[in-house]
């Protein structure tokens, strides 16, 4: 499974994450900055909630009419001389891209950051075909140099690394001799990559938003690498997830405005580059040949399902940046290139419950993700929906849990049973009480008391007190 990263077992990945102090320090400080940047930008704009409403409305309309807009997009791209390939699967996409590259007899490929090409593992295929693939986003470049360490964040892929680790990677792999100062590391990467841009035969980009009305697509970046990739090589291939589309340039404005603020707290990134077809015949720079690959790879299953809203995602990572679970376990623990709350929603949909049934439970349902989502995806509710599917449709929850829940159901539906159970509770736990707390609980309480004390159920429950008091008993003052 190409989307899959790291060890197979979820618990092993979590343990590894929790034990990695470097990573946790880096993630913690990055989250702090990203959170305050986003909040500041939203506040400065003022009517943030109205913007979110508008974003949600646009995304919703677009998904409801996705076939129409993709058809319009493809017509417009073709009118401008670009080629469009609709890829149902990852293999289809990879094969098409390979064929284009083979036809060009291309050897060196420069890539700008693209999550969908990570999802379909395009680099592996191209390298198998004997091409040299260079990732040019600084974060992706660092990871590629470090023996293809997988990304841990969808906007800042190398978020889990600190600058000392990056310096060491550059030193070991590229003979870097300067310090760990980000300025020096970045300048070094600029020099290395400039040569690659100038000598690349093919440029491959992702796509933030395609614009249906004109067959354009926009790349939202800060570093300028996507501009390089779409300016210098003679052939350009753009790979987009099929949902990354807006009806017109006017909606592009709204979604880009939401994206840059939600992602990094910027009013706009340094570059929003909107490309339409190959270069004109009388122009010098820009690609002579342009291919657009539109990828399904499981997305269409979400349409018409209770998860359709997950396709509204504009990949800003705001949900990842506020998620406390992500903060502690890091991106790799999710076992998917899509981590955090949005990853926990879409990874099981794209990759299946067999491999990813734990992800929907990797959330305390605190709702921080839903609160910040710029297009109002009800992320925590979608996690509950996953859990329901796992329990009720897939029957994949454990036997012990099912028994507990059946018991719970019986007790909570009947006030008599509930009354008996809560009255018995103090006596049942007596053997486990020490100093007024339960410190070593049995069975299902054990994971709780391994970490925390549990209070002892009161012999006089609230309902007992209230009843006595109603009868004119001693119900006065504080108990």
């Amino acid at each position: 499974m190409p989307m899959h990263i790291g060890e197979k077992e979820f618990t092993n990945r979590v343990d590894k994450g929790l034990g990695d102090d470097f990573m946790r320090g880096a993630v913690r400080s990055a989250q702090g900055r990203l959170q305050s940047n986003r909040a500041g930008a939203a506040e400065e704009l003022g009517d943030w909630d109205q913007w979110r409403d508008l974003g949600q409305e646009i995304r919703s309309h677009t998904m409801e009419n996705l076939d129409f807009y993709l058809q319009q997009l493809s017509e417009k791209v073709a009118e401008r001389g670009g080629h469009v390939y609709f890829a149902e699967t990852a293999d289809d996409a990879n094969q098409y891209v390979s064929e284009v590259i083979a036809k060009k007899n291309a050897k060196k490929i420069a890539k700008s950051k693209s999550m969908v090409t990570e999802e379909i593992a395009l680099n592996d295929i191209l390298e198998e075909n004997g091409c040299e693939v260079v990732e040019t986003d600084l974060g992706e470049y660092i990871l590629q140099i470090d023996d293809n360490d997988p990304p841990s964040h969808i906007v800042a892929p190398a978020l889990h690394k600190n600058k000392e680790q990056i310096r060491d990677v550059f030193k070991e792999k590229l003979g870097y001799t300067n310090t760990e100062k980000p300025e020096e590391l970045t300048l070094f990467a600029r020099e290395q990559l400039r040569k690659e841009f100038l000598s690349a035969d093919v440029g491959i980009t992702g796509c933030n938003f395609a614009v249906a009305e004109s067959g354009s697509f926009a790349l939202v970046t800060n570093e300028g690498n996507a501009r390089m990739v779409s300016t210098l090589p003679k052939t350009q291939i753009t790979v987009m997830g099929m949902e990354r589309i807006v009806p017109t340039w006017e909606e592009l404005d709204v979604l880009v405005s939401l994206l840059t603020r939600a992602a990094v707290g910027q009013k706009l990134t340094s570059y929003v580059t909107a490309l339409t077809g190959p270069k004109d015949e009388d122009e010098v720079d820009g690609p002579e040949e342009f291919h657009l690959v539109i990828v399904d790879n499981g997305r269409s299953k979400m349409l018409g399902s209770e998860f359709q809203e997950a396709l509204h995602c504009i990949r800003c990572a705001a949900c990842i940046n506020v998620c406390p679970v992500y903060r502690h376990v890091g991106g790799h623990a999710y076992g998917s290139i899509y981590p955090g709350p949005i990853g926990a929603v879409i990874t099981p949909l794209l990759g299946g419950y067999d491999d990813y049934k734990e992800l929907p439970y990797a959330s305390s349902l605190c709702g921080a993700c839903t609160e910040v989502c710029p297009v109002k995806i009800p992320l925590h509710e979608q996690l509950i929906t996953h859990r329901r599917n796992i329990v009720e449709e897939e029957k994949k929850s454990g036997l012990a849990e099912r028994l507990v829940m059946q018991g719970f159901s019986r007790v909570t539906r009947s006030s008599k049973l509930f009354n008996v159970a809560t009255k018995m509770a103090p006596f049942l736990v007596t053997p486990f009480v020490e100093d007024g707390s339960i410190v070593k609980g049995p069975g299902p309480i054990k994971p709780w008391t391994n970490i925390r004390d549990l209070p002892v159920p009161q012999k006089e429950r609230f309902r007992d007190w209230f009843k006595t008091r109603e009868k004119g008993g001693t119900g006065h003052g504080q108990g």
């Binding site: 880096a26 073709a78 009118e79 210098l232 122009e283 349409l303």
Partner: protein, 240 residues
Amino acid sequence: MVKGDIKNREAFLDKIADNLGRARKTSGVERPRWSNQVQWSVLKDHTEDQLVDVLEKQCDFIHTDLVRTNQSNLNQAIRDVIKGWNGKNVVTWDDPRFTTFGLTNQFKSWNEEDGITVNQWDASSGEESIRLAEKADVGITFSDITLAESGTVVLFSDQGKGRSVSLLPATYIAIVPKSTLVPRMSQATREIHQRVESGERISSCVNFITGPSNSADIEMNLVVGVHGPIKATYIVVEDR
């Protein structure tokens, strides 16, 4: 222009329609009237001068210098910026505005007095143009539309307006005629949308450029200057 190929489309889109539980839609979809138009209230009713003030403030956040000047001082203002960067090798767009703003006939004196060589983007020389841009240390373009809110210059590529000029040199100057200022991206994208609707051909590349390139990929520390320019200056010029 020869029309491009479209492959595998019908089955792909049929499946989408199927999953949406309806027949394929191949026509007749209209954008709804969105229930709010909040973007139009940003910097509403600002005068051109107020927009310049907003732009100037925003330039602080995007690590960009802003210089205000008029047409008669524009030549000197640009030269000062280039000299401040110790620039020797300049590439500019082939754009008639360089002549209407009285710059083209000054380039000779730049060379004679300050040793600054100016090359104009020349589509007829093909690859050589890109090579010259790569060798240049300063790139200069005009702004086609300028967004005050975000501090953005919008550049429409064409034969004379190469993409490389604002990208390859390590420093970049955008000449911003004051009349190009609008509040935000909404005005620019609406204009492009209207061009599309009227059947006009839009540029193969529209760049929204907001200051120099930067990255925060290393520990979220902002580093200014990655693959694109490392420094940028906007020169706002009174043009009416």
